[in-house]
Amino acid sequence: MTRFFSGNWNPYQMLFRLQDEINRVFDLADSSRPFLAEPGASFPRVNVYTTPDESVLRAEVPGVDLQDLDITVEGDTLTVKGTRKPDRDVPPERYYRCERGHGRFGRSVHLPHRVDAGKVKATLRSGVLEVRLPKAPEEKPRSITVKG
């Protein structure tokens, strides 16, 4: 708060700032606005690990049902799309706090290998999606016999 009392203190600026804050709160509370899809919003957050045989992706998708998830694999790219439904139709003025987003989301992840698309397995547990992506047969490491 000290910045309000430095050098060129402008009481109007303080009011504008307050107005911005209030607008922001009401924007967030607007249940019709799908702000998960906003640029910069990284939803869902993902972790990817890779082994010689496969890659495993984990994504945090709390409150998303399996039927609202769309997982596609093409070559070396995995795309997770979906919709997070609003909890209920709550009018904005009834919110004390609104920090969770809802709406449509989508993420694409480039993997370090091509995927055997027919063998991809996905499970959803406690709001965490796990996708196991076996490497395409031609990508798997193989030992080469050296003839002496």
Partner: protein, 123 residues
């Protein structure tokens, strides 16, 4: 897959503290609190009310991780957050459930604080 790298459980050396994002709204006779806590199973959830404070704590499941990281956007840890509960909430009627990584708490209001229709006699 060879036996060596098959689901080898690696305990996370460092668990981080996480703040779950919440929605709180008024439903007239109760207040609803919703918190995103992905990775928390019902048995790893603790909701406690003590002297006007509602404390939520959810321990994320330690999962097996193996191989080398390609993308790392989140860490494993404990969700914690404390809320101050007003006098209009009845502490005896707080219920909580967690499903799909989303915690939902119902905070019923004390009977006297529920919105009531009052007939006004105009003289």
């Amino acid at each position: 897959m060879t036996k060596e790298n098959e689901r080898q459980v690696v305990r996370h050396e460092r668990r981080v503290d996480l703040t779950p994002p919440v929605d709180i709204y008024d439903e007239g006779d109760k207040v609803i609190l919703i918190a995103d806590m992905p990775g928390v199973n019902p048995e790893a959830l603790e909701v406690r009310y003590e002297r006007g404070q509602l404390m939520i704590h959810g321990r994320q499941e330690d999962w097996s991780e193996y191989g080398s990281p390609v993308l790392s956007e989140f860490e494993i840890g404990d969700y914690r957050r404390t809320f101050t509960v007003g006098e209009d909430i009845d502490p005896a009627h707080i219920t909580a459930e967690i499903k799909n990584g989303v915690l939902r708490i119902n905070l019923a209001k004390v009977e006297a604080r529920k919105p009531q229709k009052i007939a006004v006699t105009v003289k």
